[in-house]
């Protein structure tokens, strides 16, 4: 009997020590029946992409509150593409201004969530996209 589960990698790239948001989201996704691999703080784009590949996740979620999102998020998106993983659902969140959100969504991100988004909305979004 098949027992498919949505597997998600939640990662904190760069020098950013704030992971309350990432952990709250990880718990919400777990409560929605997903398997969440959390990387911990201060990871490089290389480490994140390597983990995503070995763990064979369908979703990669990045969180940044440090302001370095443009650079770091972009690197993760590029690396995933380079390695042939552009079919991964790539999402982000944190303190990210609207113009940067739009920019990142043009540059390979499926969605950047803004502060104040409810965890239910993120759960629904992931379920819809993965089951598409």
């Amino acid at each position: 009997m098949a027992q498919n589960k949505i597997r998600v990698l939640i990662a904190k790239p760069g020098l950013d020590g704030h992971d309350r948001g990432a952990k709250v989201l990880a718990q919400a996704l777990r409560d929605a029946g997903m398997e969440v691999i959390y990387t911990g703080l201060r990871r490089t784009p290389d480490q994140i992409v390597s983990a995503a590949i070995q763990e064979d996740v369908q979703v990669v979620g990045l969180s940044s509150l440090s302001g370095a999102h443009n650079n770091l998020f972009q690197k993760v998106a590029n690396l995933l593409q380079e390695k042939g993983y552009e079919d991964v659902l790539l999402i982000g969140g944190g303190i990210i201004p609207e113009k940067d959100r739009k920019q990142l969504e043009k540059a390979g991100f499926d969605r950047i969530f803004s502060p104040g988004t409810s965890t239910e909305d993120i759960v629904e979004y992931i379920k819809d996209k993965v089951n598409e």
Partner: protein, 316 residues
């Protein structure tokens, strides 16, 4: 024959990381083709030492695994890691956090780490974990490390899976009765008291030593008890040394074959159990006979034991 399974099998045997990652997902999810995949790689499975690490959450398993993998990889070995965390019985989801302590290993040549959820398996290991070991062995690793959450009282599967079992404890998690009843004493080949700078480390070490010495050890291996502080690296090299020593011991005493046989039997049993469940239990759930039985049990007419027998044999 599933085309995807053959494709993955070939990739795994050729040592392709992406194929291994996808293959692991296929066996873990029990997706179409997983049996073909396992069967096709099976002739390429090469035995290698399997080291198990178990202990309660927070005792330091991942920090210790991180050190061991790093040291072994530096000596040129290719290492496969399986890190198991519990599935929530309520939501079916899981948070797999072992990579938090192992992230320095991510992306390093020759190291493959896979986090797996227990997915409701009793005894800590699901059949998929046995199958993951086979995939690693066909992929071609020199050693496999399996890290499992030991709740302490039902961790027996790891004995069948691993050649060398290291049980990790820390001070302050209960009295001596907890240590005796835990059942961990019987499964460990090596015992570790981590966080040895905390109060109570001496007491726990002494307790373990006295209990282990009073235990008959039929196989001439006296399990050592090591005190260490994984976060600072203190005595981790000694642990690695003891693990190698146990591996040599198994080889010299011809116990590796025995372990291998035990592992094969366990894998066969787990697959049979899963099939029995699919074939026999699955179709019964929700049938009218099922509903009738549940009602009858509720009214205290007949016992669950009676109904189970009746459903299987069809007679009273």
């Amino acid at each position: 024959m599933s085309k995807q399974a053959s494709h993955l099998a070939r990739g795994i045997i050729q040592g392709k990381e992406k194929a291994l990652a996808k293959g692991l997902t296929m066996v873990e999810n029990r997706n179409d083709g997983y049996r073909e995949l396992l069967d096709e790689i099976y002739s390429e499975v090469k035995n290698c030492p399997i080291w198990g690490l178990t202990g309660a959450p927070g005792v330091g398993k991942s920090t210790i695994t991180n050190y061991l993998v790093d040291s072994l990889a530096k000596s040129g070995e290719r290492i496969g890691v399986i890190a198991v965390d519990p599935t929530s019985p309520f939501s079916g989801g899981a948070i797999l956090g072992d990579r938090v302590r192992m992230m320095d290993l991510a992306g390093k040549e020759g190291i493959f780490i896979r986090s797996m959820a227990s997915r409701g398996a009793l005894g800590g290991l699901s059949p998929a974990i046995m199958d993951a070991v086979s995939l690693y062995q066909a992929f071609g690793v020199d050693r496999i490390l399996v890290e499992t959450v030991g709740v302490g009282q039902s961790e027996t599967d790891i004995v069948a899976l691993a050649d060398t079992v290291t049980v990790i404890m820390m001070p302050g998690t209960g009295d001596d009765v907890q240590t005796i009843k835990a059942g961990l004493l019987e499964i460990g080949n090596i015992f570790v008291v981590n966080k040895a700078d905390l109060q109570g480390a001496e007491t726990l070490t002494g307790l373990l030593q006295s209990m282990l010495s009073s235990k008959n050890s039929p196989d001439d291996w006296a399990p050592p008890v090591l005190k260490l502080i994984a976060s600072t690296g203190q005595n981790l090299d000694k642990l690695l040394g003891e693990m190698h020593r146990h591996q040599d011991f198994l080889k010299k005493s011809n116990q590796r074959e025995e372990k291998e046989k035990m592992r094969n039997e366990m894998a066969l049993k787990m697959h049979l159990q899963a099939r029995f469940q699919d074939l026999f239990l699955g179709p019964l759930l929700g049938t009218s006979e099922w509903e009738q039985a549940v009602k009858s049990i509720g009214r205290r007419e007949r016992s669950p034991a009676y109904w189970a027998e009746k459903m299987i044999t069809g007679s009273d």
